[in-house]
């Protein structure tokens, strides 16, 4: 991001403010949802969806992931794959475990 013109930077700043408002709003939304009674699974899924949206906003705009370079995309893809394996494979192994 080292070759930005001042105009571009100013434009960025507007986005930052918008993103900030969105994040604050979504925070209130998650808290709000948690007070509704959506059932266990529904609540978890919704909360995680909102968190993911927030996370994506932070990553894409604050961390400028949207206009990053391929090297970084590749790194992150590898990381995400490893992360998903780490989360889901032990879980499914536990659920499949033989026991009485």
């Amino acid at each position: 991001m080292s070759e930005l013109t001042p105009e571009e930077v100013k434009h960025h700043i507007k986005t930052y403010v918008l993103v900030f408002i969105a994040l604050a709003f979504l925070t209130i939304v998650t808290v709000g949802i948690s007070y509704l009674d959506l059932g266990h699974v529904g609540g978890i899924i919704l909360a995680l969806i909102v968190a993911s949206i927030k996370g994506t906003l932070v990553a894409c705009y604050f961390m400028h992931l949207l206009d990053e370079k391929v090297t970084i995309y590749w790194t992150l893809i590898a990381t995400v794959v490893a992360f998903l394996i780490l989360i889901f494979v032990p879980l499914s192994a536990m659920l499949d475990h033989a026991r009485i």
Binding site: A82, I85, V89, P90, A93, M94, D96, H97, A98
Partner: protein, 571 residues
């Protein structure tokens, strides 16, 4: 870039250095000392295995009462042998030392991307290793729950385990710093013309290894923190409720699972074994290309196979856990991935073997070790196959068969490759040559005794003799037929120790020997032998930073005058 531009005191030059070459040497010396120490522990243990309940000679006095090696101490030495060999010995030597020293040189960089971080990672390693060793002096002795540290045993263990955990967290941190550094260096600092497909295989292996370290180590760090919490603060992440230990009901809250630790541990520890082997592949490939005087067969196949191997290594870990009672679908999944991961290994070995065809093979010391590596790794790898099939693993799990399997890949495998690398690059580091006769003696004796130690393990393993038995199986009738082998193995281990004296003497006399003045004694093609300022050790690696015009192993190119064409030679 001559040295005198950087007038430094001894301390800044050799101790707090940020020069990757110095740091590489620091890593190298520290890790060799640890290797020797870890081997020393094993020689003590082998005495106990051969002659249970008899006082250990020479070092007996250090062990305590009557020079005997009590079982808890045996377990300590075993756990520390495993930990030291892997985390303080082989990884820092293969990745820290070789990676640090030769990756920048082979890619035409003047240093690592982050020299200060590099120093920090060495010192974190050093501190972590010292902490690890202080475990021997705390009450109850060093960690004694195996290098795998399975809870609940490790949670009710003596204080040494806490020390072990703290040490591990530091070692992991150090590896993380190192891996970020290598990755950035390879991606950013390759010299002009050095495209990805022109990288020496050694650089590729280091690069892939760094990725494994980066992504596989942190979960163990997390697990280490959780186990520390369990031990220090009294949480029960790995402890179910209602355990009765030596008659007392445990009061912890419960709800935890011992299998959670095993998953997090092996999530690291399987990729870890490829961390041990990949740099070895790289060194061996380098030396084979050089000493057959011809290009490697299937450079691309090697690279793709290694990338695939690295990816697969993240999804095979539970083959260490079949016998915990794994279900059928997960069992099928992990057996399949384990069989799949053996294919790239076969491809790599095949490429190395085919590279010999049509060569003009020079049998110098590094080449002997590299050649020795191939069948020895072959034995180790092939014996991985029955372990990978859950049904066969029922009989072989946690027996000496497993010990035999992995020692063949790490000892006559990786350790041989590391010796090969040391002999091969010694002239690069010191400007001097090693003694060929001593080197060859070292090789042949090591080869014989390595097999003497590890081959009988398969026999004991097939008989069903468990590992980690402080009396070597004396208690069990099913071991009676094969127990005589314990003595064979122990003598081989001690003789293997003696054989290392050739190595040590060789290193010492070669260090004090005369400089040969050759810049490229092996007539090699890769950049570390071209236009460099080292030796003598100077800051900044190259007189003129070289540009690259061709692939890494252009040996015996038809129509060239010499039988090698350096990468930096203009077209």
């Amino acid at each position: 870039m001559s040295t005198d531009q950087y007038k430094q005191s001894f301390w800044t030059k050799y101790i707090w250095s940020t020069d990757h070459k110095i740091i590489g040497i620091q890593y190298g010396i520290t890790s060799l000392v640890w290797l020797l120490f870890g081997f020393g522990l094993m020689m003590i243990m082998r005495y106990q295995l051969a002659y249970p309940d008899t006082p250990v000679p020479i070092v007996g006095a250090l062990l305590g009462e009557g020079g005997l090696l009590p079982p808890e101490m045996y377990n300590s030495l075993g756990a520390m042998h495993g930990t030291i060999m892997i985390f303080l010995g082989v990884v820092p030597l293969a990745f820290g030392a070789f990676g640090n020293y030769f990756v920048p040189l082979q890619i035409g960089a003047i240093d690592m991307a982050f020299p200060k971080l590099n120093a920090a990672s060495y010192w974190t390693y050093f501190a972590g290793s010292v902490i690890m060793a202080t475990g021997f002096f705390v009450p109850g002795g060093a960690a004694n729950s195996g290098w795998t540290s399975y809870p609940p045993l490790s949670e009710i263990a003596t204080m040494g385990q806490t020390v072990w955990l703290i040490g591990m967290v530091m070692l992991i941190t150090s590896s993380l710093l190192g891996s970020v550094n290598i990755l950035v260096t390879v991606i950013q600092l390759r010299t002009d013309g050095l495209t990805w497909m022109r990288l020496p295989i050694f650089v590729w292996t280091q690069f892939i290894t760094a990725f494994l370290l980066l992504l596989a180590f942190p979960p163990l760090e997390a697990a280490g923190v959780l186990q520390l919490m369990d031990r220090v603060v009294g949480t029960s992440f790995f402890m179910p409720s209602g355990l009765v230990v030596t008659g007392e009901v445990m009061t912890n809250a419960g709800g935890g699972s011992p299998l959670l630790w095993q998953h997090l541990f092996w999530f690291l520890a399987h990729p870890e074994v490829y961390v041990l082997i990949l740099p070895a592949f790289g060194i061996v490939a380098e030396i084979i290309a050089n000493n057959t005087r011809k290009p490697l067969a299937g450079y691309k196949a090697l690279v793709y196979a290694m990338v695939f191997l690295a990816f697969m290594s993240f999804i095979v870990w539970a083959h260490h856990m079949y016998i915990t009672g794994m279900g059928t679908s997960i069992g099928a999944f992990f057996q399949t991935t384990t069989m799949i991961i053996s294919i790239p290994s076969v491809v790599i070995l095949t490429a190395l073997l085919l590279s010999l065809w049509g060569g003009s093979i020079r049998f110098n010391t590094p080449m002997l070790f590299a050649l020795g590596f191939i069948p020895m790794f072959g034995i180790g790898g092939l014996t991985g196959l029955p372990l990978g099939l859950a049904a066969a693993d029922i009989h072989l799990h946690d027996t000496y068969y497993v010990i035999g399997h992995f020692h063949y890949v790490v000892a006559p495998g990786t350790i041989f490759a590391l010796f090969a690398g040391i002999y091969y690059w010694f002239p690069k580091i010191t400007g001097k040559r090693t003694n060929e006769l001593l080197g060859k003696l070292h090789f042949f004796f090591s080869l014989i005794f390595m097999n003497g130690v590890f081959m009988p393990m398969f026999i004991q393993g097939l008989a069903g003799v468990s590992r980690r038995l402080a009396d070597g199986g004396q208690t069990y009738a099913h071991a009676a037929d094969v127990i005589y082998l314990n003595e064979v193995m122990s003598y081989s281990a001690w003789l293997l120790g003696l054989a290392q004296i050739f190595f040590i003497i060789n290193m010492v006399i070669s260090l004090f020997g005369k400089k040969t003045g050759e810049k490229n004694p092996w007539d090699a093609t890769t950049l570390e032998w071209t236009d460099t300022t080292s030796p003598p050790l100077g800051h900044g690696n190259f007189e003129i930073v070289p540009k690259v015009y061709r692939g890494p192993y252009e040996y015996s190119v038809p129509g060239e005058k010499q039988d090698f064409t350096p990468q930096s030679k203009k077209v």
